[in-house]
Every structure is written in structure tokens, then in C-alpha cells.
């Protein structure tokens, strides 16, 4: 046996840090259309290689190529484009509002719009999304009221969550959008439980769970895969790999020398690794996974390869930990630009129409913001009555909360609150 050599401790480092040039050489990008498309009833063991490939439909000229090319009519594509652009404009508007002090916090999904938008439009009404805080695109694609979303961000009097939750922690049962949790990962196993319930009842709705690549290290990720496999739950488990988890790159989450899609292999769950900035690939992969789920072939894991173009949140400053040119050097480009290019390439869109769309949506978003601000913002303090904080802890308010609310009211009357 080899003689005892001192051991070394290794801490993975990203390919580039502030000051360096962006370096994505760790991310091989195969030709669009080069990955095969198996039947939806394929054995997981026969498609392990797909966990290491990268499904892409749109090539550099904006042409849709290969077996994964979903036939989608131009109207549906324009619908997707519209939702993506609207999401980006919405994000920018809310960022400004936060800068203006109208809310305490905001998170954008810039560069990742295709994933949530595509899935919202591909899945059926009644299927349930268990989102992270970066799937606002789902709500917008489902035409959910911007005013309603903004009222949540402003924590104002019309906020259906009564100002209890931090901004962007939306909840909309009507839009098939599960209440966002501030605790990472928890929704992933909940999505599996929801899907198990649908199967137990012999219903038809499936679930779609989301998690960031960083949060895959949490226990809930492992539980989700174990339960989804054991009970063959009708669920799509989406891993959004946007390369960063606040300041830590995907290697800290255990991405070095492997992929996050590959985590599924050991659980015998079929895994697709997909270009998350390719709207057509998003539709195609989602369709494949949902057909598996609906056909009782069980769960599918999809790793969406994308890039977090903006700061993690308004509390974050990425220039402290990553090169400033990463977004412009990102090999998979901008999902909006790519879909736009495709629509133009097939003669279904033009720069003029695009400019017009942006202008329309900008007006729509500004109008919505004006209306929402009319119901108050954190700045002007027009928020839900303080007594409402005692509601919904339980369905019926127990004695101790009735007492505490009464004390709070006394304090309020005696001017002892808020100081």
C-alpha cells in the first residue's frame, strides 16, 4: 500500500473572479438539434446520457432544428415572447420602485424568463407550480393581474397577503401558483406530495416543482427525488441552474465534474438537461416530462442551464464576487433575443413590432404601477391594519390570540404601537 502522504483540502473556485475575464469553458455547448428525443415511455436507464447532454432547439441563426423542435404556431410563440418581455419590464419597474423606497426588497429573474414562462404556457390549468422566488414569469404568462402582484410587492392595503410576507413572496391558487417560501428547498418535496395526492385520488393534475442549483444541497431535494421515485409521482422536478447562489458558484453546490440533471440518475428518474434560454427547448422538454407524468410513467428531472443576469436581490452586489462581463459572454445568450430572432427568421415578427410590443408593455406596466401605488406602498405606510397580523395563524382564533390582539389594540389606543 502507498506510504502515508499528507492529505490536501480542496475548496472549489469559480473559473473567474472580479477583474478576470469571464470564462465559461467549463460549459460545453453542443449544436442545436444534436440530442436525440426518446419516446416518453422510455426506461430511465436507457437515457442516462441525456443528463450530460444539452437539449437545444434554436440554432445561432434562430432556426428551430432537430427532434426536440416542438411544432408551436406563431401565435403561441408570440404569446411566450410577450410574457417574457413583460416579465423583464415588470422586474425593472419593481427594481426602480425599491430604489425609490416604495418597498423593502426585490428580486429579478432577468435572463431566466423563458423557463417559467414556457412552463406556465405548456402545462395545463390545474397543474400546480411550486415555485422559488424566480418564477414570477409563470404568473405573468398566466395573465395574472400585475396590479395584484405589485400590491404584494408594496405590502399595501390591497395586498392579499396583508403585508405579512416580504415582497415577491407571491401566492395565487387561482393561477396554480403555490405560496412562495422564504426557506429554500422546502417546496420541492411538497410538490412531490401534492403530485402523490393527485395520483392517490386518481385525478389528472400534475405538479411542477422548482429549485435553484444552490438549494439542491438542501435535504428537501433528496427527499423529493426519493419519494418521487419510490411512488412514481406525476411531477416535474425543475432545477434552475443559473450558475450562482448569491456569491457561491455552482461548484460549491457540488456541480464540479458533473451536472445537476445527473443527480437523478441514481434514483432511476429520467433526467433532461436543457438550454434554459431556448424558449422552444423549454416547451419541448416540458411537454415530454408532462406527457410522462400524465401517462403514469412517473417523474422527470429537468436541469435548466441558464444564467442569473442580475444581482441575486436588491441586497446583493455581484461585482464583489464575479466578473462584470459574464452576462455578455454567456454562451446561451438572452432568451428574449433568441426567440425574437427566431420569430423574425420565420417571418412572424419584426423589429418594429418588437419595439411596439415593448412600448405597449411598458405603458401597461407603468399604468399598473400607478394603480397599485394608489393603494399604498411601504413608503406611505398604507398597509393592512395591524390587527390583521393575528388572523390566519389558525383557522379559528384561539383564546390566547384573542387576548393578545386585545392587548395590541389597547397598546394601539394608548399610542404604544410602532414606537
Amino acid at each position: 500500500m502507498s506510504e502515508a502522504r499528507p492529505l490536501r483540502f480542496l475548496v472549489p473556485e469559480p473559473s473567474a473572479r472580479p477583474g478576470d475575464k469571464a470564462d465559461f469553458s467549463y460549459l460545453p455547448v453542443p449544436e442545436a438539434g444534436s440530442v436525440r428525443r426518446p419516446e416518453v415511455d422510455v426506461e430511465p436507464t436507457d437515457i442516462r446520457d441525456l443528463a450530460y447532454s444539452l437539449i437545444r432547439v434554436l440554432d445561432d441563426d434562430g432556426k428551430a432544428v432537430g427532434a426536440w423542435n416542438p411544432d408551436v404556431n406563431a401565435d403561441d410563440l408570440r404569446r411566450g415572447l410577450r410574457a417574457m418581455v413583460k416579465t423583464r419590464i415588470y422586474d425593472d419597474r419593481m427594481l426602480t420602485a425599491q430604489r425609490q423606497g416604495k418597498t423593502s426588497f426585490y428580486m429579478r429573474c432577468t435572463g431566466e424568463e423563458a423557463i417559467a414562462v414556457g412552463q406556465a404556457l405548456e402545462l395545463r390549468v390545474g397543474d400546480m407550480c411550486f415555485p422559488t422566488y424566480r418564477q414570477q414569469g409563470w404568473l405573468i404568462a398566466r395573465e395574472w393581474s400585475l396590479v395584484d402582484m405589485m400590491c404584494q410587492v408594496y405590502s399595501n392595503e390591497k395586498d392579499r397577503l396583508h403585508g405579512r410576507q416580504m415582497p415577491i413572496m407571491y401566492s395565487s391558487k387561482e393561477a396554480d401558483f403555490f405560496s412562495i417560501s422564504g426557506n429554500l428547498g422546502t417546496q420541492f418535496i411538497q410538490a412531490v406530495g401534492w403530485a402523490m395526492a393527485s395520483a392517490i385520488r386518481g385525478d389528472t393534475a400534475i405538479a411542477s416543482g422548482f429549485i435553484g442549483e444552490g438549494a439542491t444541497a438542501e435535504a428537501d431535494f433528496h427527499h423529493a427525488l426519493t419519494f418521487a421515485h419510490t411512488y412514481q409521482a406525476p411531477v416535474i422536478l425543475n432545477i434552475v441552474n443559473n450558475q450562482w447562489a448569491i456569491s457561491s458558484f455552482q461548484g460549491i453546490a457540488g456541480g464540479a465534474g458533473t451536472t445537476f440533471a445527473a443527480r437523478a440518475v441514481g434514483y432511476a428518474i429520467p433526467a433532461l438537461r436543457v438550454d434554459g434560454n431556448d424558449y422552444l427547448a423549454v416547451l419541448a422538454a416540458t411537454r415530454w416530462a408532462s406527457e410522462r407524468a400524465r401517462g403514469n410513467f412517473g417523474p422527470t428531472i429537468i436541469e435548466w442551464v441558464t444564467y442569473r443576469a442580475s444581482a441575486h436581490s436588491t441586497s446583493d452586489d455581484p461585482s464583489r464576487y464575479r466578473p462584470s462581463d459574464e452576462w455578455e459572454s454567456w454562451p446561451l445568450g438572452d432568451p428574449i433575443e433568441r426567440l425574437k430572432k427566431h420569430l423574425i427568421a420565420i417571418g412572424e415578427w419584426s423589429e418594429e413590432q418588437h419595439a411596439e410590443l415593448q412600448a405597449d408593455l411598458d405603458r401597461e406596466v407603468r399604468a399598473a404601477a400607478r394603480e397599485a401605488e394608489g393603494y399604498g406602498t411601504l413608503l406611505d405606510g398604507r398597509v393592512a391594519d395591524f390587527k390583521s397580523i393575528f388572523e390566519d395563524v389558525f383557522k379559528e382564533m384561539p383564546q390566547h390570540l384573542v387576548r393578545q390582539r386585545a392587548q395590541a389594540e389597547e397598546a394601539e389606543e394608548a399610542g404604544q404601537c410602532r414606537q
Binding site: 405560496s179 395526492a197 435535504a219 384561539p398
Partner: protein
């Protein structure tokens, strides 16, 4: 009425609820084909099928997380945690999710699950098969915590918990599964069949949550107890000759403070008994609450008789267990005060 053990009463409650409500599902480690390590789900898979009663992977966090998803869908899951000592991997899902879901979603999504788990010592289980973590749950707003002390209550409280629209932690004192136990481990075990509260109706009935029961009327001291400690307190009262009024909380939180206040205002003295470790155990909250609401009626310091602030030892189990003589001594002390 048939005589049932406490485990039998739990099984009967699950049977009744599986029968009348399609949305009830029961799952956990070894609960399916095998029927549970304490037999509380014996025969239920055979009767209702594996879609309703099934085994789960060994992952308490996964069990509770999946149950929350099921509950959000509209089911009423009744997961079992094999021992309360193993609930900790599931605490994040309980605290951050089950307890918060109604609140944070403005009541759009709710988590009506009932998490069953055996608790307490007395079976030589050592530090990982004897714990009583109820104190932790009571600190989490949004959770209800229940602990029955007899078969009749166990069935009625479990049915009420399953039918409750909020998450409930249902703790089953494992030492009581087969019979009442007053801490005299050196005496022959008594079966439930000899005990009036071992008589349990076959069908559906509820014991409302948040309502305590006076087990023994008395004038001199109020004893607050739950689970196994109810019998320890009864033995202590009888052996000490102190005329104690013994209140069985049944639901630990939300608390039936009215019943407690009435009694303490009458007796002017209060002894609190629980098996869990002392510091920041639920006895602390009981002592603080009683002191706040009955200060001017108190004639003696409120005493707590509890497990020591150590892990539950295996060989010295009976040195740790707060038995009748330790409780009796406390009763005499508060009378002498």
C-alpha cells in the same frame, strides 16, 4: 362498550376516519403491511389498500414535507413519526412550512395534517426512544399540540385532530399504550380493560381540542399534568394524602387556561408535572401563565416536577422519570409553604 388499549384506540380512530373520509391517508415508517412498530396501524393497509395506508422511506423530513404537499392538495394526511425522538429532521417542514402556510398565503393554502408520534419513557428506550419534545412545538405559532392520557381521549382527540383544519402534533405516551402507569414500575402492570377510560365506543366521536379534564377533584393543590404524568400525579395525591385537584391538559396548546385558573384560584397552590427536561419545557409556560393570571391567589410558589436537564438515561431510567414519590414530596412542600 368494548375495552381498548390506547394503541387500539388510536387504531380505531384511524379506522373510523379512513372509513368516513376518502381524503384521509396514513403513512410512515413500517406503518403499512407491518402495521407499525407499536401496532397502531395493524390491519389498516389490508382493509383500505396501499393507496391509503403505506410505508414511507426513512426520512422524517420527507414524510412531513410530502404530507404538507398532500394537505395542500386537499387530503388529510396522518403521517406517523416512529418515535418523537426522530421528529427533528422534520422540524423545518413543521416550523417553516406546516405552521406558516395558512398565514403566509392569506389562507389560500392550508396544511390540515396530523403528525402522530409516540413519546415518553418507561420502556428502557434510552435517550433516543424516550423523549417528550412537546415544549418545542408549543413555541411554534400555528401548531396545535395534543397528548392523550387514556384510550377514550386518545380516540376522540385523534379524530378531532384529523378533522381540525390546522396542523396538529399528536403525541402518544408509549408507556400508556397497553395500560395506565403510575410510575410504580416494580408493581405488576395493569391492563386498560380494568380502567373506566379503557372503554371506547366503536364509532365516530370527538373530544374537542383545547379543553382540559379534571381527573381528580381536590381543594388543596392544583396539579397540572398530561400523558403518563396524570397517573403519577394520582398516585402521588393518594400516597401523600394531599387533597390535590388533578387537571389533565389533554390539549397542551392551545391551552384551556380557564379550567386551570378556576382551580388555582380555588386551591391557591399549583404543582406542574412533566416528563420532559425541565428548562424551557412546557412547565415553564404553565408556571408563567398561572403566575400571571393567579398571582394574587397564590399561597405558595408554583413548583415544577420534571425530568432532569440531562438526556434520558437507559439504566437509571427510574432515577430520571418523575415518579409518584417525587411528586408527593412536591405536594407536601407546597402545603408546608
Amino acid at each position: 362498550m368494548p375495552a381498548m388499549t390506547l394503541s387500539g384506540a388510536v387504531r380505531s380512530a384511524l379506522d373510523v376516519m379512513l372509513e368516513r373520509d376518502d381524503s384521509v391517508v396514513v403513512f410512515g415508517e413500517d406503518v403499512g403491511y407491518f402495521g407499525g412498530v407499536f401496532r397502531c396501524t395493524d390491519g389498516l393497509q389490508k382493509k383500505y389498500g396501499a393507496e391509503r395506508v403505506f410505508d414511507a422511506p426513512i426520512a422524517e423530513g420527507g414524510i412531513i414535507g410530502a404530507a404538507i404537499g398532500m394537505a395542500a392538495y386537499g387530503l388529510r394526511p396522518v403521517p406517523e413519526i416512529q418515535f418523537a425522538d426522530y421528529v427533528y429532521p422534520g422540524l423545518d417542514q413543521l416550523i417553516s412550512e406546516a405552521a406558516r402556510l395558512r398565514y403566509r398565503s392569506g389562507a389560500e393554502f392550508t396544511a390540515p395534517l396530523t403528525v402522530r408520534m409516540p413519546c415518553g419513557g418507561g420502556i428502557h428506550g434510552g435517550q433516543t426512544h424516550s423523549q417528550s419534545p412537546e415544549g418545542i412545538f408549543t413555541h411554534v405559532c400555528g401548531l396545535k399540540t395534543v397528548m392523550p392520557s387514556n384510550p377514550y381521549d386518545a380516540k376522540g382527540l385523534l379524530i378531532a385532530s384529523i378533522e381540525d383544519d390546522d396542523p396538529v402534533i399528536f403525541l402518544e405516551p408509549k408507556r400508556l399504550y397497553t395500560g395506565p402507569f403510575d410510575g410504580h414500575h416494580d408493581r405488576p402492570a395493569v391492563p386498560w380493560s380494568n380502567h373506566p377510560l379503557g372503554e371506547v365506543p366503536e364509532g365516530h366521536y370527538q373530544i374537542p381540542l383545547a379543553s382540559a379534564a379534571v381527573r381528580r377533584a381536590g381543594e388543596e393543590v392544583t396539579v397540572l399534568a398530561y400523558g403518563t404524568m396524570v397517573y403519577v400525579a394520582e398516585a402521588a395525591a393518594n400516597e401523600s394524602g394531599v387533597d390535590a385537584e388533578i387537571i389533565d391538559l389533554r390539549t397542551i396548546w392551545p391551552l384551556d387556561l380557564d379550567t386551570i385558573e378556576q382551580s388555582v384560584r380555588k386551591t391557591g397552590r399549583c404543582v406542574i408535572v412533566h416528563e420532559a427536561t425541565r428548562t424551557s419545557g412546557f412547565g415553564a409556560e404553565l408556571s408563567a401563565s398561572v403566575q400571571e393570571s393567579c398571582f394574587y391567589h397564590l399561597e405558595a410558589p408554583i413548583e415544577r416536577v420534571t425530568g432532569w436537564d440531562t438526556p434520558y438515561p437507559h439504566a437509571q431510567e427510574w432515577d430520571y422519570f418523575p415518579g409518584p414519590s417525587r411528586v408527593a414530596a412536591a405536594l407536601k412542600r407546597v402545603m408546608a409553604a
